[in-house]
Symmetry: C2
Subunit: 269 residues, 2 copies
């Protein structure tokens, strides 16, 4: 469908076509936590897709809100399994369009293309696609304890899984090992993929893994982390349960770090 602008335009004219509403730089939610939609008027730049026969569109986000606003993280927590990926796709794409008005090849202006899933440069013919940057996020285990760290911007007492971008030339497994060596000074093996999650702040693919550390002796990179510590299964269980006496505050439930910790406590895999 994205290769056929005439068909997308015809879908926008359907009376049941829906347009995603925006609020303060993110998709707007109803009081019941569902995405808010309005009738389509005109030719919206972003074709989100069809739900059954019903076409869904979006405008682009207003340009005056930070694209990694932590105020938006909590919105994800309210969404159900239908709305969450729509929210993530719309927010990632809208923020990508905001920062890609010009062609990186020749410097001239680009315009949305393929229903908003690329931008085209009429000057040099370049076509540019939205990013989904792979990030590894991982639990290293040693002697039945798990390594968690504190990033400088975390709320008080929060510890979570270490993470970092996969670089060109790396496998997922190599990125896990490099990040843990760089940030915590540990060597790991048995890297095992567990689950993935799109994270639209601004547009990453979180790739969750576990691994085994050869030692529990840490050399923390204090440019990246405020702290890193090993926690026992009982300590993690208390934190996930929201126990006030737990030694740390768990990551939010909708983040993949929560899932990694929950499965580790349960002994999966």
């Amino acid at each position: 469908m994205r290769a056929h602008p005439d068909r997308i335009a015809a879908l926008a004219r359907r009376s049941d076509a829906r347009l995603l509403m925006w609020d303060n730089g993110a998709p707007a939610l109803n009081p019941d936590g569902r995405l808010q939609w309005s009738p389509v008027d005109g030719d919206p730049p972003l074709f989100l897709g069809l739900d059954g026969e019903v076409p869904h569109f979006s405008s682009l986000a207003p340009g005056d809100v930070p694209i990694d606003s932590r105020a938006h993280f909590g919105l994800l927590a309210q969404l159900d399994a239908f709305d969450a990926p729509v929210f993530a796709a719309a927010l990632s794409l809208a923020n990508w369009h905001r920062r890609h008005g010009f062609c990186s090849v020749c410097g001239l202006a680009t315009t949305p293309n393929r229903g908003g899933w690329s931008r085209a440069c009429a000057s040099c013919g370049g076509e540019h696609y939205p990013r989904a940057d792979p990030v590894v996020i991982m639990l290293a285990e040693h002697d039945d304890r798990v390594l968690l760290g504190r990033q400088p911007h975390y709320p008080a007492r929060r510890f979570s899984a270490l993470a970092g971008f996969v670089e060109p030339g790396e496998t997922i497994e190599a990125a896990v090992a490099r990040e843990l060596f760089e940030e915590a000074g540990i060597s790991v093996r048995d890297v095992t993929y567990l689950a993935s999650q799109p994270w639209p702040f601004p547009s990453t693919l979180m790739i969750g893994a576990t691994c085994n550390a050869d030692s529990d002796s840490l050399t923390i990179d204090l440019n990246e982390l405020d702290d890193a510590r090993w926690f026992s299964r009982l300590e993690v269980e208390a934190a996930l349960g929201g126990d006030a006496s737990a030694p740390f505050l768990a990551p939010p439930r909708f983040a993949i770090a929560w899932t990694l910790l929950d499965r580790w406590v349960a002994g999966v895999p």
Copy 2:
């Protein structure tokens, strides 16, 4: 190190510093299949890293070779486990620099930054990072047969695993299911991650998976594929073995599709 241009410049002045040589748009190989290096003269834009104490650098690729030249695929096949990721990182980065001379936010010129691992815009302050685009590549299984497809540009008789880019808002598992539904009309479950591989043509992270199809009835998207067929374990084994009577030509051994097929034949999940 990348945050300290003075330290990188000092490394470039070391007498043992090595500069990657280029040939026809790709890193150059010796007759024995190792990457070719020369002494460093000046201030090369790309700091590849340290091997022990020895600093490794690269210039950027010359600009007149297609960035997804299939002539370069075979070079990867010759490389060992040390050189292959260096080749992949250098080629991905060089090609990324070639297509990112201008700032996508404001349209003005950018310059290499962080030892060549980003580009900075002095005009608007934007910083831009190299891409590593996640691509899912997968085997769907049904009734002890596996689904392979032919892309239009493949050599004669070649069949390989289906693949496609992960889009913003998707998990790895959702991307596998969407691609197989779009390209072959099948519904799948039990998506299982198997392995990953950086693929520097131009810069993707290949994420290999297996899954089970609910049916073997295919609806092939002829815009994407010339053909798609189910192959038995014996047929795949013959193709991997290079058997002239095999019903198809296997993907090259250094591609992750070969590994997926090899493990499937061996019965490794």
